[in-house]
Symmetry: C2
Subunit: 154 residues, 2 copies
Amino acid sequence: MTIPADRERFRKFLTKKGLRATNQRLAIFDAAFAQTEHFTAEQLLDYARIIDDSVSRATVYRTLPIMTESALLREVDIGSGEKFYRPNREGDRTQVAQVVCVDCDRIFEISAPFMEWYGSTVSSKLGLTPVSQRLQVSAYCNAFRQTGSCPRRG
Amino acid sequence: MTIPADRERFRKFLTKKGLRATNQRLAIFDAAFAQTEHFTAEQLLDYARIIDDSVSRATVYRTLPIMTESALLREVDIGSGEKFYRPNREGDRTQVAQVVCVDCDRIFEISAPFMEWYGSTVSSKLGLTPVSQRLQVSAYCNAFRQTGSCPRRG
DNA sequence: CTGCCTGCAAACTCTTTGCACGAAT
DNA sequence: ATTCGTGCAAAGAGTTTGCAGGCAG
């Protein structure tokens, strides 16, 4: 699942910033890019430890900001206490909104290009320059409420 | 600043839910509705204690969900660790987006009626029913970056 | 009077940090 | 050889909770 080009992006970013390409950082990177869904820091720790069992919680927490800064990871905060992350594969630059199902606990991502336009329109009216924007919809699952089971997880 | 009609809404909500109108809850309510800006749980505790110094942190935290459920308060989570609250005065039902200034730390609220439309459009495509939506823009202050001081706080 | 509410303090969750050792350049 | 990076465990911030006593209805 790991795309070599992405790993190379990570190495380059590390070198450029004068940071070292340690085994732990690479293991965390590989673990993150093996995921197809959103994951938490704690889950990433578990995944990374399968690759390199010397990885510690502290290093995961120290590496996450590095990976989000380098735009390799996208941070998603749905206001639930813990933050979620998701690999940002090569070339992904689309603005996305999240739809969070309160029944499934799943996070769907939907392209929402207008967000950027809204952000700059509204910011400039206030004399501000937009840095980022996020749009989140929380919703419940019709099927689950009717049949007691969510088709998206069985 | 407290609008009696709002206080009455709170009393009614309490009664309907079989909850008691204690001095502490009323003090917390009054403190919240004396605010014109966003505030945190900790600030609310300070404000409420001016009115009734017997109010405890625990009761503030226990009362906040009651007030947000009754739509008297709006909860704003900008992903900064602590949550912010703001009185939702009588009749306020407009969908709002937040613009958070990373220099000022201020939260501006902007009407964004299209959010509701977006939420239901996107949800229905996934077989979901929208519960709520939030749109947040984080931005920096042009004046502050250029002159070193933010005109909105001097 | 009954039992919901309260204050207190301890517990909890997620994340950050100080320190001495270890490894990448 | 130098640093930067690491694991460990403790600290931190914000919020929640168990308990025994207190007050609203």
